[in-house]
Symmetry: C2
Subunit: 358 residues, 2 copies
DNA sequence: CGTACCTTTGTGTGCGTACACAGAGCGGAT
DNA sequence: ATCCGCTCTGTGTACGCACACAAAGGTACG
């Protein structure tokens, strides 16, 4: 019944090996100054007893301070990235006994060079670990190369470039998420012959890799399961809201039979609110991320489904990952896909901060 | 930028209050032997500086052993409860530096008196905390009253009886989960005039409270959104698998137009496998819990949707909760609803052990 | 005025680990 | 033999906290 016998300590190991705790300590931290014979003896016993150090005593004794930094696109209240930050702050609070601190760095997503500039500021500060979202591939590569040279571990969040070998990645499998979205939209739009994909064009960019991968998975599903489906694409421009409305007017005037749409960015509320303004209730809509305005549309019925990436959990886990790696010296999983959760007005109440206590 | 100034220690508080660490310690643990004047002075400073003790140093110094116990229905490999146990074991491993251990107790769900008997064995062992699933209300009440008398905190898992005031509850909002299931089934069965609800009758019992609440939510949704829907109920008997097949044969012979069904227990695979044996691919089916056989049916297409309760997370969190309460002395949330996750063959890969590291 | 007793306060040690430092042993050069 | 330099090992102290114990101060009473 009892599972846990008394924990083995360094002292125990030392006694069994016939050496002092200092020698065991040197072996544990693979420091120099240990004879071949005692090293082997100690290692044997460590192996045999499966010694697990008491991480809390260890953190207490080493008494180091750890400074982390994160680099995210600049953003406003109510945005997706705010939730990521919230998760990181929760984790910092939770692990505050380990003497961890967190600094924030931002960059303008649409200004070239801004990323690498903030990156340089991080390098100046020489933190012990960095969390970033690799939105711009080339600049990210330059930055993480410098981090690697400096021996600073980095964690990718939200989207991944596995080639750049981060310590870990936390985010969704974007392509599979789009594939799943397609199935759900198909279900909503059973029998409909046409659908529309709303895109957000920013500074001439078609959208993040993230969004492109979702679209890819979406098209893949539709090709496999309903190749006859007619799919329109409508480009919208966030910065000119007035123009968006007239673009939507024009589109729906030209395609009165399209009753179903999806967007692969987090701005489904633009369409949802448009539908509410026009009193249309026959349009089925899907989107991404639980932004306040999306939640409002869900509850109002102008958005049917939202897929969430659990940004808070991503943020929390990425900090936890750095702690596990640097402080507790546990092995961390390098690729961590978040679940692909479908949110509706019926289950939304149970998706706020699920599992992140306090 | 830096958020974390140097942590305030007991020594700092003592210095500022002009007393010794011993006095501060006595105030912190509200022990006797402190004069009114120094108590107030210390409390003021604690308040002002918002002192947060280093929980790890504290746990290290107190050097107590904590013994937890859980009481669950007896079950076999591949069952729902196995996942709950797995989550608890993961948590125990994770918190092993706190000297926690876990003992297991089981009871036969269908033998009256078995619950309370195992409960008595737990009381004899005098553990520091107990986790249990309150499946049988009356016996649970008797047991937790004894626990409360003994000052032993208890956590409910899977289903809740809030009247009995557990330290915390981890599980799904069963009624809302049934409500959500109804929406999804309705989507699957768009236009179908009839559906069937499969029930599992064990020893004459209609099913756990859990299942009854799901059914309740399900009926509620259907009454609100499609009162004209014809809903059949078919009782099955787990213990006689032969009989179940003929019951299904009879039902589908009598109701050839029923193309859609749901079960509120974890045994959807019984129906799914039946459909596969009969080569029926036109039947839409929903169920609960990611048992191996349910997963196989999902992938084979004989089950469309499964709702998962994340049993592993429930187990993990319930142990974590006891640690937070007893060792770290953090406040714990008393009612913790799990998310209501919809699983399909497209997103199932991302639902194994989500967020429970290691 | 001394002793007993109670209240209040301070000090010391230990939890398991990390790391600095001192010391032991040994060979070689003077 | 003495001294130096090297490798290897053991000891001591600190981390922040809990708790046992000792000490200090006061009151009451013979």
């Amino acid at each position: 019944m009892e599972k846990q016998q008394d924990r083995i300590r360094i002292k125990d190991i030392a006694q069994m090996a016939g050496v002092s705790v200092g020698t065991v300590d040197r072996v544990l931290h693979s420091r120099s100054g240990v004879s071949e014979s005692s090293r082997i003896k100690v290692e044997e016993i460590l192996e045999k007893l499966n010694y697990q150090p008491n991480m809390y005593a260890s953190a207490l004794a080493s008494n180091k301070k750890y400074r982390f930094a994160y680099l995210l696109p600049s953003h406003n209240e109510g945005d997706y990235w705010k939730d990521v930050e919230r998760g990181m702050q929760q984790a910092i609070a939770r692990f505050s006994d380990f003497n961890v601190s967190l600094s924030d760095y931002y960059y303008d997503q649409y200004e070239s060079g801004a990323f690498i500039e903030s990156g340089m500021r991080i390098l100046d500060a020489q933190p012990d670990g960095v969390i970033l979202s690799p939105t711009v591939e080339e600049e990210t590569e330059r930055f993480v190369n410098l981090l690697r040279e400096a021996g600073i571990p980095y964690v990718f969040i939200d989207s991944n470039i596995s080639r750049l070998e981060p310590l870990a990645f936390y985010g969704q499998h974007a392509q599979r998420s789009g594939y799943f979205a397609a199935r759900m939209l198909r279900l909503l739009a059973k029998g409909e012959p046409e659908i529309v994909i709303f895109r957000q064009i920013n500074e001439g960019r078609l959208g993040s890799n993230q969004q492109l991968h979702r679209e890819e998975g979406f098209y893949e599903y539709m090709k496999e399961h309903c190749p006859e489906l007619k799919m329109w694409e409508l480009n919208l421009y966030a910065k000119q809201p007035g123009e968006d409305a007239s673009l939507l007017d024009d589109f729906f005037a030209a395609h009165p039979n399209v009753k179903c749409g999806i967007t692969f960015n987090s701005k489904a509320y633009i369409i949802g609110e448009y539908m509410q303004r026009h009193g249309r209730t026959d349009f089925h809509l899907m989107g991404y991320d639980l932004l306040r305005r999306n939640v409002a549309c869900l509850k109002a019925g102008s958005i049917d489904f939202v897929i969430t990436q659990q940004p808070t959990v991503q943020g929390y886990n990425s900090i936890e990952c750095l702690c596990n790696h640097l402080i507790l010296r546990k092995k961390v999983k390098d690729c961590n896909y978040m679940p692909i959760n479908l949110i509706t007005t019926e289950n939304i109440d149970f998706y706020f901060d699920a599992h992140v206590n306090e």
